[in-house]
C-alpha cells in the first residue's frame, strides 16, 4: 500500500515538475546548393546545419558555426553604425553583412524535406557562413543608421 502511494506520488511529482523538453538546436546534413552560374543552373554539394531557437525560429549556418564556434557568432556585440542602412538603395541585410566584414550571397538549397528554399547568407573568412536573417535578428537593435 505504502509502495503504491510512494509510486503514485513519485509519478505525480515527476509529471507536475517535469522540465520542458530541451530544444534540439542543431542538425547538420549534406545537401545540394543551387544557383545560376554562367547562365546555367549549377549544383554544389555542401554541409548545412540548422540552428533552432525556443521561439521556433530556424536559421541555417555552416558546420563550422555550430555551437557558436565560428568567429562571427562568438563576436561580442556592440553598437554598429551603418551608412544608409535603410535607404532607397539596396537590402539592409546585405549592408549589415558588409559592416560585419562578410560577403552576402543569395542561394538555394534543398532542405531535409527535399524542398528547395531560397535564402541569403553572409560568408566570412574560412568559409564560415550564417543566414543574413540570423545576423539581422541578433544585431538589428544595435544598429544606428547614418546618412
Amino acid at each position: 500500500m505504502i509502495k503504491l502511494f510512494i509510486f503514485l506520488n513519485f509519478f505525480i511529482i515527476n509529471n507536475v515538475f517535469a522540465k520542458p523538453e530541451v530544444v534540439k538546436n542543431k542538425v547538420c546534413f549534406e545537401t545540394t546548393f543551387k544557383f545560376y552560374y554562367n547562365g546555367k543552373l549549377e549544383f554544389e554539394k555542401n554541409q548545412l546545419c540548422r540552428k533552432s531557437y525556443e521561439d521556433k525560429m530556424t536559421f541555417y549556418i555552416s558546420k563550422s558555426c555550430v555551437d557558436n564556434q565560428c568567429e562571427i557568432l562568438k563576436r561580442a556585440k556592440k553598437p554598429l553604425e551603418i551608412k544608409d542602412y535603410i535607404s532607397n538603395v539596396g537590402s539592409p541585410g546585405f549592408k549589415l553583412c558588409f559592416a560585419l566584414d562578410g560577403v552576402p550571397q543569395i542561394f538555394e538549397f534543398e532542405d531535409q524535406q527535399k524542398k528547395w528554399q531560397s535564402t541569403e547568407r553572409c560568408i566570412f573568412k574560412n568559409n564560415d557562413f550564417v543566414e543574413i536573417s540570423l545576423l539581422s535578428r541578433e544585431w538589428k537593435n544595435l544598429i544606428t543608421p547614418t546618412n
Partner: protein, 460 residues
C-alpha cells in the same frame, strides 16, 4: 509503528493537496484569461464569444473535479469585471456612433446587460446571464443612440481617437499564387529600384508568370547615372508599367532577364558590378577575363561576350545596360497585353480612400502596390526613406484590436523590422507550427500604415 502511520498520513495529505491543486489551477487559468481581456482597453464581442467557451469548459471541469463550490463565487467576480469592461466598451463604441459589432446590435446588448431587456436571444447569456450587475455598472450605462445608416462598421483603435474598421471588414486574407507568394520575396540587391520590383510583382500576380523587375527600370535617367548615386531619382510603379508596355507591347520574363539570385564569381552586388562594367567600357575596350565573363553571364545569361565587346568598341559605356537588357528581352512574352495602372496619391487622395482601395482589392483577391516613408513605418522618426512595397494580405489582431496588413518587401527574406506594437515579421512555419522562417513579409497595423503611406498603385 507510530512513525509508519505518520508517514502514510503525510503521503495521503500530499496526494490530496496535489489533486486539490487542479481546482485552484482551473480558477487561476480562468483568472489569467479574464485578466487578458479586462486589462485591454476594448473587449470585443468576438473575444467574448471565444472566452465563453473557456468559461463553459471551466464550469464543466469544476463540476467533474468535485471542486469546492466557493470556486464559483470567486469566478463570479471575474465575470463581473469582464461585464463591466464590455459595458465600458459598448459605451465607447456608441459615443463614436457605432451601432453594430460583428452583427450584434450594441444598443440591444447594452439593454440586456443592464437588465432592461430580457427574453431576448443573447449569445453571451451563458457567460453573463446569471451574474448580477453592480450599482456602479448600472450608473455608467448611457442611453442608446440612433442607429447609423452606414453599413461600414467601425471600432475605436487603442488610442481611442482614430476610428478603424472592425473585424467585420478586416477579414483574414492572404492573396498569393505561383508567381507571388509567401516563399518567394524578391531581393533588390544593391539597387534602388523598389518601384520596379513592385511593378513586376503586380504584373506577375496578375499574369501568373514572374516578370523581370529590372526590365521595368524607369527612373528618367540612364541606368549608368542611376546606379552611381545611392540616392537615385527613384521611380514610379505605374509609369514603369505603362512606359514598358507602350514601348514594347509585351513583357520580359524574369527567366530571360534575372533581377535577383545573382551568382558572381567574386563578390559584387548588382549596382557595383554594373558600375565596374561601365568603368571598363568607357575606354571602348573591355579587358575580358574569366571572372568578368562569368559575372556578365550571371546578369545577362547566355549573352555572347563578343556581342558586348562589339557594342563597347562602337559605343563605349553609353546606354550599355539598356542595350544588354533589351538584348536579353528579345524573347518577349504576353504580346499585346494592355493595362493602365491606377494610382492614388496623398496630394489628392485621403489616407482613408487609400485604405478603402487596399481593402477592396484584397477582398477581390488582388494585391496592391503602395508608396511609403519607410522610417515612419519602422522607427517613427521624421527622416524620409521613400520606399515601395506590395500589400498581399490582411488580418484582424484581437490583441491590439486593430486591422493589420501584410507587406511583401523586396529586401530578401530578412526581418530587419524593429518588431513591436503594430509591426511584426511574418513567419512561414511547418504544419506543426515549428521550424519557422522569416519570409521577407511583415505585418503592419493600419494606423502605422496610414501614417507612413504616401500613395497606392494597382492594376485595374
Amino acid at each position: 509503528m507510530k512513525s509508519k502511520y505518520i508517514f502514510i498520513l503525510i503521503i495521503f495529505l500530499f496526494s490530496h493537496l496535489t489533486f486539490a491543486d487542479v481546482c485552484s489551477d482551473l480558477l487561476s487559468n480562468l483568472n489569467d484569461d479574464s485578466f487578458a481581456l479586462t486589462s485591454k482597453k476594448i473587449v470585443t464581442y468576438d473575444e467574448l464569444k471565444i472566452f465563453k467557451l473557456t468559461y463553459l469548459t471551466f464550469q464543466a471541469s469544476v463540476k467533474s473535479e468535485n471542486c469546492n463550490p466557493s470556486i464559483f463565487l470567486n469566478s463570479k467576480s471575474l465575470i463581473d469585471s469582464l461585464k463591466s469592461k464590455r459595458i465600458e466598451t459598448i459605451n465607447k463604441f456608441m459615443a463614436l456612433k457605432i451601432t453594430e459589432e460583428s452583427g450584434n446590435d450594441l444598443a440591444l446588448e447594452l439593454a440586456i446587460l443592464s437588465g432592461k431587456k430580457s427574453n431576448v436571444t443573447y449569445e453571451l447569456e451563458d457567460l453573463f446571464g446569471a451574474v448580477p450587475l453592480n450599482k456602479n455598472d448600472k450608473d455608467s450605462l448611457k442611453l442608446p443612440i440612433k442607429k447609423s445608416k452606414n453599413d461600414d462598421v467601425l471600432i475605436v483603435n487603442q488610442d481611442k481617437t482614430n476610428p478603424i474598421r472592425s473585424s467585420n471588414s478586416c477579414t483574414d486574407k492572404i492573396n498569393q499564387n505561383e508567381s507571388v507568394n509567401l516563399e518567394n520575396a524578391r531581393n533588390q540587391d544593391g539597387v534602388g529600384w523598389c518601384y520596379a520590383y513592385v511593378a513586376a510583382d503586380l504584373l506577375s500576380y496578375r499574369l501568373g508568370k514572374k516578370i523581370s523587375a529590372v526590365s521595368l527600370y524607369n527612373s528618367k535617367q540612364s541606368i549608368e547615372a542611376d546606379i552611381q548615386h545611392a540616392t537615385g531619382l527613384g521611380g514610379n510603379i505605374e509609369e514603369a508599367i505603362e512606359t514598358y508596355l507602350k514601348n514594347n507591347n509585351s513583357l520580359c520574363l524574369e527567366e530571360d532577364l534575372p533581377s535577383s539570385d545573382f551568382k558572381f564569381c567574386t563578390y559584387n552586388n548588382y549596382a557595383k558590378f554594373l558600375n565596374s562594367l561601365y568603368q571598363s567600357a568607357q575606354k571602348k575596350s573591355l579587358k575580358i577575363n574569366q571572372c568578368l565573363a562569368d559575372n556578365i553571364n550571371s546578369l545577362f545569361p547566355g549573352i555572347e561576350i563578343s556581342t558586348i565587346s562589339n557594342y563597347v568598341q562602337k559605343n563605349g559605356a553609353k546606354d550599355l545596360a539598356e542595350y544588354l537588357n533589351h538584348f536579353q528581352c528579345k524573347k518577349q512574352s504576353f504580346s499585346g497585353y494592355k493595362t493602365t495602372p491606377v494610382a492614388l496619391q496623398e496630394t489628392r487622395n485621403s489616407k482613408e480612400e487609400m485604405i478603402s482601395t487596399i481593402d477592396e482589392k484584397l477582398n477581390k483577391s488582388d494585391v496592391v502596390g503602395f508608396y511609403y516613408d519607410y522610417k515612419k513605418l519602422d522607427s517613427d522618426n521624421v527622416l524620409t526613406g521613400s520606399h515601395a512595397s506590395i500589400i498581399v494580405g490582411r488580418r484582424f489582431n484581437n490583441q491590439s484590436g486593430s486591422c493589420e496588413y501584410l507587406v511583401r518587401n523586396s529586401w530578401g527574406k530578412d526581418c530587419i523590422q524593429k518588431e513591436g506594437t503594430g509591426l511584426t515579421c511574418h513567419k512561414n512555419c511547418d504544419s506543426q507550427g515549428d521550424n519557422c522562417r522569416y519570409s521577407g513579409h511583415y505585418w503592419v497595423g493600419q494606423e502605422r500604415l496610414k501614417n507612413a503611406m504616401t500613395g497606392v498603385a494597382y492594376l485595374p
